[in-house]
Amino acid sequence: MQWTTRVIKPVAFMLCLLPLLWLLADGLQHHLGANPVEKISHRTGDWTLRLVLLTLMITPLRRLTGWNVLIRLRRMLGLYSFFYACLHFLSWLVFDHFFDLHEIVKDIIKRPYITVGFAAFVLLIPLAVTSTNRWIKRLGSRWVQLHQLVYVIATGGVLHYLWLVKADVRRPVIYALLLAVLLAYRAWVRRRTNSTAVPRPMTQSKAA
């Protein structure tokens, strides 16, 4: 293992933990304001989206900078996205509904922003489960296909945010623009490899 890898992974691990530590510290010191439940829900939701987008930035950044060590971080960022998504989901389950299954199901069916947010959360589960080396090996090229679900998840997450705000769409629109750039980059790479590469018989694009 290179020294950069040895350093960059623990550093990234600690950095990704900071939003949670910050939330806990604020909670213990009663710094979460008048409505702490709302703060917990918003912060964990925000960090889920930020980490999903960060995960999607790894490949373009690696291509642009040539800094291949970045790829070592992708799985960790993806798993941290799932971690914050779990916290976000739990705060909704416990504080908004206190495990009232009937209300929960009603909310998921009736409220489009919850439908799409819940769907994105559920889709994260298989990606988290299959993130181990063993699963990567076992699934082979199907692993790449499966993990392209992240594009659906990211879109769902951004829609979830966009559909819940009342009037000020500035923040969700920033997320949406970032996501649009990241998706456009992939479309561009795919088109370029398809037209300039040596003709390959129907191979899976590695743009993911």
Partner: protein
């Protein structure tokens, strides 16, 4: 029934110094100091042009109160929806200093016998200030219990003699992006407009607030003059009012203009009629972790339900 109309000798819970306040020594001292200062200043004037935080003198207990714990002063003054300052809950208290609540003119016009532009202090001075403890239910499904200080809107409007064409009251918030940084972005169609039907405006529960917790209204809560309509969602309680117009036409309120399928003119608290995007059946009382059931008309049904008899509240939401 949760609303009590007090007998003359009755002492309500809100008259007893709350435990929070008693324990909060700093605030207790500040209140004490404030009242000494105002007492000195008040030797020859009953109503003093006042700064946010100053204690209001000569406040009597109003006829309406609620037997529920008050939402702490700290929460009432730091968790605000007041988009003129910004869309985050903390923006109004953080940026409140940019609003100059004195001197302040209020235009009263339209279908009244005595239209004109009036100084806020002249407007309030002839009235006796009342304290009223009301529930406030936000359309975002959170709620508070707030001890407001103000005058019944009906008493104020009657001084200007509305005529028979006055079917609605239209209220307008100050438009000044220098004082209201949130108005530099067109999140909403400024200035903020709200409206009431004349019978709603004349209802004894409808209050024009100039204070809370016995103090002059803080800027983030809508200084110097804000409406309080406790059976309607909070966005009806328009803040920092500069114009009150009696009209024949139903005014289009800002949120209804912004999203007509989501916010109506009436905006009565109604747990059976959901916001199209979220449920209104429950609410989180600020200070609680879990939600409680929302009451029809925010618990003021006995007083206000007759105003809407025969109306389809699903349509007139």
């Amino acid at each position: 029934m949760l609303i009590k109309i007090k007998g003359p000798g009755e002492v309500t819970e809100s008259e007893v110094t709350s435990q929070d306040l008693y324990l909060d020594r700093r605030r207790f001292l500040r209140l004490g100091a404030g009242s000494l200062l105002t007492a000195a200043a008040l030797s020859n004037e009953i109503w003093q042009p006042a700064l946010a935080g100053n204690k209001l003198a000569h406040v009597i207990k109003g006829p309406y109160t609620v037997d529920e714990p008050l939402t702490p002063y700290e929460s009432v003054t730091t968790y605000n929806n007041f988009y003129e300052f910004g869309t985050d809950k903390e923006d109004p208290s953080r940026l409140a200093a940019s609003l100059k609540a004195r001197p302040w003119k209020v235009i009263i016009d339209g279908e009244v016998a005595r239209p004109g532009s009036y100084d806020i202090d002249d407007l309030i001075k002839p009235h006796t200030l009342q304290e009223r403890v009301y529930r406030l239910r936000c359309v975002e499904a959170w709620s508070m219990v707030i001890p407001w200080v103000g005058v019944p809107l009906a008493d104020l409007l009657k001084r200007f003699t509305p005529n028979s064409r006055a079917k609605f009251v239209r209220f307008e918030t100050l438009y000044d992006p220098k004082q209201f940084p949130g108005q530099r972005r067109s999140v909403l169609d400024w200035p903020y407009i709200e409206g009431l039907r004349i019978d709603e405006a004349m209802h004894p529960l409808t209050l024009m607030a100039v204070g809370l917790y016995g103090e002059v209204l803080p800027n983030q809560n809508g200084a110097p003059l804000r409406l309080v309509v406790p059976w309607k969602y909070g966005f009806k309680s328009i803040k920092s009012i500069v114009r009150i117009t009696l009209t024949e036409q139903m005014p289009v309120n800002t949120w209804a203009r912004s999203a007509p399928d989501e916010y109506g003119f009436y905006a009565n608290v109604n747990p059976q009629v959901d916001h199209p995007r979220w449920s209104q059946a429950k609410e989180r009382r600020i200070g609680d972790y879990f939600k409680r059931e929302t009451l029809m008309f925010n618990g003021y049904g006995a007083e206000v339900a007759p105003l809407y008899s025969g109306m389809n509240l699903r349509k007139s939401f």
